[in-house]
């Protein structure tokens, strides 16, 4: 059937309006439901008291602490590795087979599902290295997971530093490393921070990789080797086992609000410092 071009254009436009609004409405629906049901559960008490009776009572304090510890370890390990890789790729070498291999590795790592990271962390950290289900095992697993994100964003950030900066620094007699630490990295810092914040977001929301490496013990983490339950794992267990829907919504609201803040912050930083879309 042949349509008149004008009619076809109208129909196509109508479809695109419709589909785009569906995509946006779905997002708004998700946010609205979680916030509407979750925010009434929130209180200072909810955030500062430990869960009691398997999560039916009390708050989520210990899970918040566990999430922060895990994320902190992940970034402590992943940031130097990721930024170092980015520095090497941009400042120390030219495009060639080596950089292709490194980029391919990072791309593949980015595509590996979190459950595979979970299996891997379980075998290596929990079993072979005998860290047990612990903050340390979970944190290291997450570090590997967010590594590609940090490499990517840092690389973009370092690339966006104008070459003239480096030339001036070299002309003043600085070595390459001095140029990197005193000129390149300071100007690339906002972009690097963006990658770190993005990784915080991923770590907070991750469940499958964490549940098999950090475990799901509902208690306050006391050392690197104590098993503990993060917010997202707690939420998963509350919701899946139907322990307590109000508490599940409350936990989800905390998660979603944290993610919202993180996304808005990264968007702002990206717009301000790196114009290029990653």
């Amino acid at each position: 059937m042949l349509l008149r071009p004008k009619t076809e254009e109208k129909i196509a436009q109508a479809f695109m309006y419709f589909f785009t609004s569906v995509a946006v409405l779905v997002l708004l629906f998700i946010l609205a439901v979680i916030l509407k049901n979750g925010v009434p559960q929130l209180s200072l008490e909810f955030l500062t008291r430990n869960p009691a009776d398997m999560g039916r009572e009390g708050g989520i304090f210990s899970t918040v602490v566990a999430t922060i510890f895990l994320t902190f370890i992940a970034l402590l390990v992943a940031t130097p590795l990721g930024v170092g890789t980015a520095i090497y790729l941009t400042e120390y070498t030219i495009e060639g087979r080596l950089t292709r291999i490194i980029r391919f590795g990072a791309d593949c790592l980015a595509g590996i599902p979190s459950i595979i990271f979970g299996l891997f962390g379980f075998i290596l950290f929990v079993n072979k290295l005998k860290f047990g289900w612990s903050i340390l095992s979970g944190g290291l697993t997450l570090a590997f997971m967010v590594l590609p994100t940090i490499i990517r964003t840092s690389e973009e950030a370092i690339k966006s530093v104008p070459p003239a900066y480096r030339l001036v620094s070299f002309s003043l007699g600085s070595t390459r490393w001095q140029t990197i630490t005193r000129v390149v990295l300071p100007s690339a810092l906002p972009g690097i921070v963006t990658g770190i914040i993005l990784s915080i977001g991923r770590s907070i929301g991750e469940t499958a990789a964490v549940i098999f490496t950090a475990g799901s013990a509902l208690r306050m983490p006391s050392s690197l080797f104590s098993s503990s339950r993060t917010m997202s794992v707690h939420f998963y267990i509350l919701a899946k086992e139907g322990v307590s829907m109000p508490k599940a919504y409350g936990t989800a609201a905390v998660l979603v609000i944290a993610i919202l803040i993180i996304n808005i912050l990264t968007y702002y930083l990206m717009e301000k410092y790196i114009r290029r879309k990653l």
Binding site: T175, T207, A208
Partner: protein, 285 residues
Amino acid sequence: MTKLERNDRLIRISLLMVAFSAVSVLAIITIFIFEQGTPIMFKYGVRSFLLGGDWYPSEKSFGLLPMIAGSLMVTFGALIAGVPLGLASAIFLTEFSHRRLTRILKPVIELLAGIPSVVYGFLGLMFLVPFIRENFGGPGLSVLAASIILGIMILPTVISIAIDSIRAVPDSYREGSIALGATKWQTVRMVVLPAARSGIIAGIILGMGRAIGETMAVIMIAGNAADIPGSILQPVRTLTSNIALEMAYASGEHREALFATGVILFIIIMILNTIANLTSARQKR
């Protein structure tokens, strides 16, 4: 050699080692998953793993066919739900919408990517599953529910990569087409989309990878019965859920069989990644 120069060389070498971290992590993961998963596959025969229809770990029957079929079904369903939605949004945001609207909508859609998968699963369980149960019958926990939720979850991947590749099409193409008297939509359909094709396909393949690898959301809404579903209203178990559901209590050969599940998943993902990499490299060239 001065001290500074020596330091610089030391730094270069250590950075080179750091730069191999991602590749080494990838290698270590591959080695560990295969080391744990392949022996049992060879012991019972690769065929019986891939084509066996019965998953009864306690009776040493490790047929993964229902899970492989399940993963493929929900992934295919996710593409049916997500790709038209994602492509239409990407075309709208790049070619038709007002600049200011795009600046608001794009980050909003990207926010979808940041929402934890457990939240998607939870909402699917609270709203979609009862809806399907009441309107279409069946238990609600089904291929259909999983496909729709996964379709939403791959939207940000499909949309942002499609937007990037549509934007990479030179404006002169569009101008040439408009100058020949084509309408905007004809230009998009006959000039822009064909030029951006490989990037769009790469985005769709990456979306497939996300869908096939998604675990927590699927566990909550797919019903997880280890049988090949007869219709889209019946429950389904994917490769990922198979691992996540039983890992907590599995031991011995049962645990090895779960790693074998991981091996199959890993191979599928690596194939998809490589295809996506190659297709997007083609566009860059």
